[in-house]
């Protein structure tokens, strides 16, 4: 005895017996409490009803496994036996409290996952259906993730091959990406988006030059219209001055009137052309996708303007021809 042999080394407390008793009582109480708790946890104190599931393959099912409803455990596998017909019979204890989730129309499934244990689930669509009776036997639908695997892998392999083809060096995806890259490079160039859309910098330059020419053309057009105005003014004043003189003169008057009408129509045409040029300018400012169309328009417009100018020149010539005294304001006397 340690204490007997060396009394100075270890001191025995007076309440030694009490302390040891306390320890033993504590131990026994803990042990009993734990055993009771485990019994409670295993549902010993709960009245249960039995449910029997029949499945062709009970692989992965083990005693103590849960039956879950909406993710909650409502029952536990009690035993698994092989029936005479070769099917497995899974006996499940369901506490009476939880039995209300089991209805006569409930469906039971056994799912095997890749990782983790199998799961027995119950699905109840209508909770108003009559409740499932005690010792009811129900078939189980089986879903096996591993059975799907080979098929899944085959499909996956195909998909991967396709992707590989698409992304290969000569593949369509690479070519498309190359195209996109050239376009964006052009867009980043000096001519910006216009260059990207039109294909090359030269084309873009041409469009810009066309717009510049259109601008200068407009300037010259406005010069022409000023000249036309002054020419018409002159014509008016000439008409005013010569009216009384040539009023009676046959043919001349009529032609003059015709010429004036022509001049008016030409002016109208010029105005139309100017409007078109205005619209074109607006187009040209937002030029981008329809830049090519705009250049076509410009060409047509230019032709029109040329035609109009030619008509004006013709008219002036005609006036000159019909009106030989045009430049001489004074009358020559014989």
């Amino acid at each position: 005895m340690i204490s007997d042999k060396e009394p100075g080394f270890t001191l025995l407390p007076k309440d030694l017996e009490f302390k040891v008793k306390l320890l033993l009582i504590l131990t026994v109480a803990t042990a009993i409490a734990f055993v009771l708790y485990v019994m409670y946890a295993r549902g010993v104190f709960e009245p249960t009803q039995r449910l029997i599931l029949v499945v062709d393959n009970a692989e992965g099912v083990s005693v103590g496994m849960d039956l879950t409803f909406s993710g909650f455990s409502i029952g536990r596998v009690r035993r698994i036996v092989l029936r005479d017909d070769g099917k497995a019979r899974i006996v499940i204890d369901v506490p009476l409290d939880d039995a209300r989730w089991l209805r006569s129309t409930s469906i039971f499934t056994l799912e095997r996952s890749l990782v983790g244990s199998s799961k027995i689930r119950v699905f109840t669509a209508n909770l108003q259906d009559p409740p499932l009776e005690d010792r009811a036997e129900r078939p189980v639908l089986r879903g096996d993730a591993t059975e799907e695997l080979p098929r899944m892998i085959a499909a996956l392999k195909n998909t991967l091959e396709n992707i590989e083809q698409m992304t290969a060096t000569e593949g369509s995806l690479q070519a498309s990406l190359g195209n996109v890259r050239t376009i964006t490079e052009r867009m980043g160039g000096r001519q910006g988006v216009l260059g990207g859309v039109l294909g090359s910098e030269d084309n873009a330059k041409k469009v810009v030059a066309a717009i510049d020419r259109a601008n200068s053309l407009l300037t010259s057009l406005s010069g022409v219209s000023t000249k036309l105005d002054s020419a018409l003014g002159k014509t008016d004043s000439m008409l005013g001055k010569t009216e009384q003189r040539v009023f009676g003169a046959g043919g001349v008057m009529d032609e003059t009137q015709k010429a004036v009408a022509q001049a008016n129509s030409i002016l109208g045409e010029v105005r139309e052309s100017l409007k078109k040029v205005d619209a074109l300018l607006a187009d040209a400012q937002v030029v981008g996708t329809n830049a090519k169309a705009a250049t076509t328009d410009l060409r047509a417009l230019r032709a029109e303007v040329d035609a109009s100018l030619r008509k004006v020149a013709n008219l002036i010539d005609e006036i000159n021809r019909n009106w030989p005294f045009e430049r001489e304001t004074g009358i020559k006397l014989p």
Partner: protein
Amino acid sequence: MPQNVAAELVDWIASWRRELRFGGYALAAALSPSTYVAATRTVAVKQIYFTAWQILLPFSLFMALFSLVVIQITMNVARNYDLSQFALELVVRALVLELIPLLIALFVALRSGAAIAAEVALMRQSGELEAAGENLLRHELVPRVAAAAISLVSLTVLNCAMALVLAYFSMYGFSPWAFDDYTRVVGYIFSLPIMAGFILKCIVFGAAVAVIPIVAGLEATERVRSVPVAVLNGMVRLFFVLGLLEVVSLAAKYI
């Protein structure tokens, strides 16, 4: 050489026979009412006091720390591998069913077993044991065997309960709403065979820790130098027996 091996084998078998004989004797004595007199009772109480009560607090603190670390590691690993639904089961199986009982058995062996072995060896060496004879065996050693076993069971029960509580709070925090979940897992783990195996393991551990050092002490002779050899042999044997019991228990459960 072969004679030596044969002699060693005979010795080995003989010492194991002594262990079993003493174990059987201790069991018979513990079950017979005539052992329960005031003197044996005092011896047992003292033994329990020194083995269990005196170190209960520091040892429980250490076990709590150890449990917390193991629980955290298990939880983190389970979460990393996306298996957190198995974390609690893993913790309970590893910690409560295996690690804590084994650690406690080793601790009790270290604290009481070594002391008992040394004491018995010294008594043997001084001739005290032979003088007292049967009486000493019955009224001194048997109660100590019983007390060491009881101490071990007591420490195991208390520390396992503490580990279970710690596991709950580590897993779910201080929320009471996980109790159903927890209860379900505990109910699943502690099936009847597991529970019976656990109790049996505690008892066998207790018996080994109590009997082996005493028998080892009895193997000492009159020579002074035989005392440390006897103690050493006893402790090594105890270690191997505990390890072997643990392996057998694991194999029975999981293989």
